[in-house]
Amino acid sequence: MQQAMMEFWDGLPVIVQIVTKIMMIVGPLLLVVAYTTLAERKVIGYMQVRVGPNRVGPRGLLQPIADSLKLLLKEVIIPSNSDKYLFLIAPILAIAPALAVWAVIPFDDGMVLADINAGLLYLLALSSVGVYGIIIAGWASNSRYALLGGMRSAAQIVSYEIAMGFALVGVVMAAGSLNLGEIVMSQQGSVYHWFLLPLFPLFLVYLISGVAETNRAPFDVAEGESEIVAGFHVEYSGMAFAIFFLAEYANMILISALTALLFLGGWLSPFEGILPESAFALPLIGWLLDSGIHWLLIKTAFFLFCFLWFRATFPRYRYDHIMRLGWKVLIPVTIVWLFVLGVAFALGIGPWFA
């Protein structure tokens, strides 16, 4: 049976194979995005001693579907005197990089759509292209609030990209490769071999700049409701608005998955090298304990929960404080730690750099 399936698969034209693989990534991704919105409302609800959505479907489980149906049926209003073409292109420019980035994310050993050499660089490049959606949306709307939001967001994303890039340089130094699969495999061994310990300051910098990069609270001045209404997407309605929403949540999931891949060993099991070999040979329990895609999903879900937790916990940063944190705190921390890494390499401090 399996043999026949494999033969059938290999017999398909390459383009059909690739499209099927893309579907297998994008489909679940969009589903997760939809349910992240529900999770956000529920988690924040319980943190604020409320119940959250509980009317549509059992325990509110169909809420995201109702929401997306509502947005689909709404009219897309194009503001007068706006730049019509750019106004409609902007959401596409926001969602396309957010989805294209997933091509190089490995979910398990070898389970990746495009196993390219410079995977990490591709990732950085595409996530920096995502900012165009926001700037163009802000400018094309012909609205002062939107323009202010777009400007704030552009400045914020460009500044935090530097801190993020430097944090990734540390990861590349420790792993000796730009390929995401190889970066995960170089963390093999046990929990102590994960890059979390030797690169702990870089991990914090990456997580903080990841939150800033996705325009999430406490760095959400680009859409600060209390000052500029909703920032860059204030003029958008219906599906065009929903696409910005999708892009933001897809980026959140991406940053969570990347944090798991780069610093917490991705799909590697935390029990590796700690439990005896015989534990992994057990039926089912052994599979659960062993490395696999489920560990990546658990780690990603944890960081995704952190995103929601931050939103419920921290008050919004003031704009000049955001810039101060990015340029005067995070970037120096990364530069110092890169120097420390260089020294650790020269002295061969184990078990990471031996």
Binding site: A118, A125, W139
Partner: protein, 197 residues
């Protein structure tokens, strides 16, 4: 026509069209966006030449950072297109002389010598452009590379010094000072006699 050739002509058409559009459209924001498209498609050309590191770097640096700042400035400025276009006919002869001169110089530099090169063969499957560039940069060209880095550092410091201005009148908040604040800095209790009627 092979698939590779098709891709080459596909990207080249977009590249040339967007470059032409960049200098002909009236709206400066549209022009900047066409330049972005031109950068993006030339990155695709580099990737087709197996220089994926350079191609991705072009997107990362020029599209992701330089052009964002460019757009930033262009959106803030209120450029009067009519005034910029004034005197087009009057300046046309000068422009033509400069354009022809530049074309002659470029033809002398690149010219037939480069265009008649045999195309280099395909690299091996495990060829990594990143590693190859790294090898060259840190061995053969290490001094030029480091000198370029120092020049860039000087440029950064110069730019910061040139734009730095102290504004004693602006109110500035120091979060560290605010956290360290004590009761005696903020509250002053005064004892005074009750006033007679």
């Amino acid at each position: 026509m092979s698939f590779e050739q098709f891709l080459f002509y596909f990207f080249s058409t977009i590249l040339v069209a967007s470059a032409v559009a960049m200098i002909t459209v009236r709206n400066p924001v549209h022009a900047a966006l066409f330049l972005v498209l031109a950068f993006f498609t030339s990155a695709a050309h580099w990737i087709m030449l197996e220089a994926e590191f350079l191609g991705i770097l072009l997107v990362l640096v020029y599209v992701g950072a330089v052009m964002v700042l460019f757009l930033f400035v262009v959106m803030m400025l209120d450029i009067n297109v009519a005034r910029v276009r004034e005197g087009f006919v009057r300046l046309l002869p000068v422009g033509l002389v400069v354009a022809v001169g530049m074309m002659v110089v470029m033809a002398m530099v690149v010219g037939a010598r480069v265009f008649q090169l045999e195309s280099p063969g395909r690299a091996d499957a495990d060829y990594s452009n990143t590693e190859a560039i790294g090898q060259l940069l840190y061995t053969e060209y290490v001094y030029p590379f480091e000198i370029a880095a120092v020049i860039l550092l000087v440029a950064i410091i110069a730019a910061i010094v040139l734009t730095l201005r102290r504004r004693p009148d602006s109110r500035y908040m120091d979060p560290a000072e605010q956290i360290k604040v004590q009761r005696k800095d903020r509250v002053r209790l005064i004892k005074m006699e009750a006033e007679k009627k």
